[in-house]
């Protein structure tokens, strides 16, 4: 199917007259190789974009070859997220575009709601149907009963649509399944969340403490690059992970902690740092409140106490605490990103925030810098109608500190067992694969079955599309305009996405879909443009640039308004907390009956024969979205189950033996997984990469390859402060014989 560049040169030169025809013939005879991919007569072009394979959103260039086909995608040198270098997923991102398994046409379910049969329909039919359904459901239950599950840049357009329609029920897995507890813990402590990319000054740091954060496998580009730069400068890394992660192997200290006991270690560290007077006295005195209470509180949490819980020796705990203090304030106790682990996550992240405060790293070079964003004017659009209720009202008692939509709360409101009045009756799902991303899939599906209407906007036929009444095929980021990327960084900056190609098949950009649906709902005023490029051009002109300029630049940086990347010497900055100070002790938490100072709570343990299921990232994949990508499945086509040799011996496992997993609730994995016997994992746990084991046969590369951690995560420990869904208290045992489950077709 793919013609190589060399073929092309031969083919194209035939069209160029006799002289050119002769060249390949001459080459054939003289053996002059022409394997230089850049030579040739055609024109190579490049098109600005920012990567959508994960939410680091690195800016780069999509290259077209002389044939006008996609060639490669390369980072933009001026982009602070990528510094001109994409991660493997970004580099292989062109596979998203190339994938022939993509959704090609709008689909409508035929027959019963549980049927898996779809017919292709036209875009007009799809939009007419959707608009009619929205009106009908809006009339029956109120416009608020329509919710949007979203992830990714193009979800803004549908967010805009449902807001215009009168619903504020939007949520994404990036909060309650990801960084929710972290954002709230930092807001409670420092008065602001960390956002993305996290304002970590890793490149100038002298000590980096990673609690689980598996940089190098977690390929968040800027962080990996800065960590590497810091390694060159001799940074000392302390990694706390029950698994010998990639970064553990680069660390001065690897603390092979017993899973689920991090809070004990953190408290012991705080204990040592306070009791050995290693904390930043001046900083704490001037900028924080509650130190005395904290000091008193942590007296009980000695390293000896923590040893019994974490299996980390007291002298190591002391030594690492001193290592951090030695580097302070150029030290980062990394806040992590996927923070929803054990349901006490706000508490863990509070301990991390407090530790950073004690070390004085917030607002300091080599610690946390003060990020700044570019300011873009809003494209004019009428004010949104005010909804009568929102997601918080589904269950007002729950998750008082959640500041963003909680997916699982919306699922609660959608579930047949919901007793409240604020019911969700229809879903839009864009760019998130809910059955795989939200734990307790069974409950998600029950909520889905309870809906009157579901629209899924996706690029691929993933699990979630199988539950839709209407499936809308979105084109990939390589084929569409989206909003400018405006994310905080050291320097304010913006990045542009332009389509490098016409959308393949009949796929379309989300902005167009949202606009077409809005027109049918009489909400056309909210989408007052012909093409999304009009919006971008207008916005850019307001800030002294233009679409044309940005097409050439890709990324534009702006000066910071103030010289406040770090706190100035002697400055007493004000924090966004109620007290205006760093809150070591949180009155706010106390007022809701939560521990105002971090605590350690013992977690459930596996029974004999069971192992804790832990999961993480592969550097070459992003969740379930890349596990059918032709470029990236090439690098890794399945996940394997990491098993310690001791355990393997007990079970008489061989490398690559196929086994099935059964969890504590009797759920057996649908597919088998190959065993990888490795010392890199503890004997009480097993490990796998999230995102594999696709169940849709239309995913020709991903179907049945490895297994999905999500299907085994049926026990969810919810973080009561933020609503984050802790997923690491699931235990599995091995099934060596095929449990004979029929594969659903």
């Amino acid at each position: 199917m793919k013609t190589t560049r060399r073929d092309f040169i031969k083919i194209s030169s035939i069209g160029l007259g006799s002289l050119a025809v002769a060249t390949p013939v001459v080459n054939y005879i003289t053996g002059n190789s022409n394997d230089n991919p850049l030579s040739g007569t055609g024109k190579i072009s490049r098109h600005a974009n920012y990567c959508e394979v994960c939410f680091w959103n690195c800016a780069g260039w999509v290259y077209k070859n002389e044939e006008g086909k996609i060639w490669k995608i390369i980072g933009n040198e001026n982009d602070p997220h990528s510094n001109g270098r994409f991660c493997p997923r970004g580099t292989g991102g062109i596979g998203m575009y190339e994938d022939d398994d993509r959704l090609k046409k709008p689909l409508m379910r035929v027959g019963k709601p549980e049927s898996q049969e779809y017919k292709e329909i036209s875009w007009t039919e799809a939009f007419d149907h959707i608009a009619a359904k929205m009106k009908e459901i809006g009339q029956k239950y109120g416009n608020e009963s329509i919710a949007l599950f979203k992830h990714g840049s193009s979800s803004k357009h549908f967010g805009h649509l449902i807001s215009a329609f009168g619903s504020s029920n939007q949520a994404g897995p990036a909060y309650a399944q990801c960084k929710g507890p972290r954002e709230e813990a930092f807001t409670l402590t420092f008065g602001e969340p960390l956002h993305s990319p996290e304002p970590l000054d890793i490149r100038d740091s002298k000590c980096l403490v990673l609690i689980g954060s598996h940089l190098g496998e977690n390929m968040h580009n800027g962080q990996v690059q800065e960590m590497s730069e810091a390694i060159d400068k001799g940074i000392s890394i302390i990694t706390v992970d029950p698994r010998f992660s990639t970064v553990a192997s680069k660390s001065k200290f690897w603390l092979p902690i017993k899973p689920a006991t991090d809070n004990a270690l953190l408290l012991a560290w705080i204990n040592v740092i306070i009791n050995e007077n290693l904390y930043d006295k001046d900083y704490i005195e001037k900028l924080s409140v509650g130190f005395d209470k904290l000091k008193e509180h942590v007296q009980q949490f000695t390293p000896e106490w923590a040893y019994g819980i974490t299996t980390i020796e007291p002298n190591i705990i002391r030594e690492t605490a001193r290592e951090m203090a030695k580097a302070a304030p150029a030290v980062i106790v990394h806040p992590g990103r996927h923070a929803t682990w054990y349901g006490d996550d706000t508490q863990r992240l509070r301990a991390i925030a407090i530790l950073n405060a004690l070390l004085g790293s917030w607002g300091r070079r080599g610690g946390f810098y003060m990020a700044a964003s570019a300011k873009l004017p809003k494209f004019s659009s009428p004010a949104y109608p005010k909804p009568k209720w929102g997601w918080k009202d589904i269950n007002p008692e729950k998750y008082p500190f959640a500041n963003e939509g909680v997916t699982n709360l919306i699922i609660d409101g959608s579930h047949p067992d919901y007793k409240g009045v604020n019911k969700i009756k229809a879903w839009f799902v864009l760019g998130t694969n809910l059955p795989v991303s939200i734990p307790d899939t069974k409950r998600t599906i029950e909520a889905i079955q309870n809906q009157e209407f579901i629209v899924v906007i996706d690029t691929m036929p993933t699990e979630i599309t199988g539950y839709a009444d209407i499936v809308l095929p979105e084109c990939t980021y390589i084929e569409r305009y989206d909003d400018l990327r405006v994310l905080p960084h050291r320097e304010p900056n913006i990045a542009l996405r332009v389509p490098a190609f016409e959308p393949r098949f009949e796929s379309k950009p989300a902005w167009w879909m949202a606009k077409e649906i809005a027109n049918r709902l009489g909400l056309g005023d909210y989408f007052n443009y012909k093409d999304y490029s009009d919006v971008l051009d207008w916005q850019l002109k307001q800030i002294g640039s233009s679409l044309d300029e940005m097409k050439n630049l890709g990324v534009k940086k702006f000066d910071r308004e103030f010289d406040d990347l770090y706190f100035a010497e002697g400055e007493t900055p004000e924090f966004g907390t109620t007290s205006g100070k760093i809150e070591l002790y949180s009155e706010e938490l106390a007022s809701y009956g939560f521990p105002p100072l971090p605590v350690y709570k013992p977690m459930p343990e596996p029974e004999t024969g069971f192992y804790r299921l832990i999961y993480g990232r592969s550097p070459v994949h992003t969740f379930s979205r890349t596990t059918n990508n032709p470029r990236l499945t090439e690098l890794q086509k399945e996940n394997k189950l990491w098993v310690n040799p001791k355990v393997a011996k007990e079970w008489d496992f061989k490398d690559d033996q196929e086994i099935w997993l059964q969890n504590q609730d009797g759920i057996v994995s649908e597919f088998s997984i190959k065993v990888r016997i490795t010392e890199r994992i503890r004997w009480d746990s097993v490990y796998m990469v999230h995102g594999f084991g696709h169940k849709d046969k239309r995913l020709t590369r991903g179907f049945g390859k490895g297994i999905s951690d999500a299907e085994l995560i049926t026990k969810v420990l919810i973080d009561p402060e933020s609503g984050g869904t802790g997923m690491r208290s699931n235990f599995v045992t091995f099934v060596t014989e095929n449990p004979g489950k029929e594969v659903v077709s």
Binding site: G31, V620, L635, Q636, P645, I677, T678, E679
Partner: protein, 337 residues
């Protein structure tokens, strides 16, 4: 525990997870090349020594197999090429450092020589050819025509008649040339593998002599099998026993060399010693292909009758398996991972 993995990238067909680029074609080619070299060598040798009537099978009949073996071998080699239409590139350069290159050239030379050799004896060996009936006669008529006399055919073209006369007249000189090139051919098929130092199993100087001796031994076995004269049979039987003993001796040296070598070679040897090739090598090559035929031939020589086809077949079969085993196993052995 030590774990060593290729985590991405390398799943190149025929290379990964282990090299398996060369399949049946190369061992067959090496076998036939060695056989042809041996046959031509013996034929030329006894012409030079003026013993052509003492060993008529070796000189006149058995060499008929040589061009056939070479042609089949070349077909096998051609099949092995992955970029076949470019095979002619072989004949645009001579690269003395590359055995493949000079091997190709030797074959280029020795193929017509072997035809000449066989052609020069054709009237002696086949005085009567049926050119009257059947499909085969149509083919034969492309080069032969009917004639009168003791020999009932002539070459179709007169220049071939002239050329034949020339060959017969200059047979000794031709024998010298063939002797030279058959040795080169033998050496070439022998050292082809050992030129690839990258495979620990092949990275030994003794492999060439082993293949050379083994090729000659298969040739001797063929002659002894085809011969009807008891004296010739016996003589080649003796030659064969001698070659087998030399070969066994070389094989012993080969393994001693491996065991004294670096770890990769110890590992290579292990493939034959309790490894996956033990049965093939130990049973088929050493016992059935060398020791048993030697015993049978000694028995025959000392008067206990064993049908000559048995040792002859065993030697040929053993020789073929030997090449298969060496090519397969060699590709498995490696320096890394």
């Amino acid at each position: 525990m030590k774990e060593e993995l290729i985590i991405s990238g390398r799943m190149n067909p025929n290379i990964d997870p282990v090299l398996h680029l060369w399949h049946w074609e190369i061992p067959v080619y090496l076998f036939l090349g060695g056989l042809a070299a041996g046959l031509l060598f013996f034929a030329a040798f006894y012409v030079i020594r003026d013993e052509k009537d003492r060993f008529p099978t070796a000189v006149k009949i058995a060499p008929i197999l040589a061009p056939i073996a070479i042609i089949i071998g070349l077909i096998a080699l051609f099949l092995d090429l992955k970029h076949k239409l470019f095979f002619w590139r072989l004949y645009t350069v001579i690269r003395l450092e590359s055995p493949m290159s000079w091997g190709a050239w030797v074959l280029m030379i020795i193929t017509p020589l072997s035809f000449m050799w066989v052609g020069g004896f054709l009237k002696e060996v086949f005085p009567k050819i049926d050119l009257k009936k059947g499909f085969s006669s149509k083919l034969l008529k492309l080069v032969f025509k009917e004639s009168e006399g003791e020999v009932n055919w002539k070459w179709k073209y007169n220049f071939l008649e002239t050329f034949e006369k020339f060959i017969i007249f200059r047979r000794k000189e031709l024998a010298w040339v063939i002797l030279f090139y058959s040795l080169i051919l033998g050496v070439y098929t022998g050292i082809l593998l050992s030129a690839f130092n990258a495979r620990p199993l092949w990275n030994t100087a003794i492999l060439g002599p082993i293949f050379l001796v083994s090729g000659f031994s298969t040739a001797a076995a063929s002659i002894m099998w085809m011969s009807k004269l008891p004296e010739e049979k016996k003589w080649f039987s003796k030659i064969d026993i001698m070659l087998i003993i030399i070969e066994l001796f070389f094989i012993l040296h080969l393994f001693m060399g491996f065991l004294a070598g670096p770890q990769v070679q110890v590992d290579a040897a292990a493939l034959f010693w309790g490894g996956q090739f033990t049965v093939y090598f130990g049973l088929f090559v050493v016992i059935l292909g060398l020791i048993m035929p030697a015993i049978f031939e000694v028995m025959e020589l000392s008067g206990i009758h064993v049908h000559i086809s048995i040792p002859a077949f065993l030697i040929l079969f053993g020789g073929l398996i030997f090449r298969f085993v060496m090519v397969e196993a060699g590709q498995i052995t490696r320096y890394l991972y």
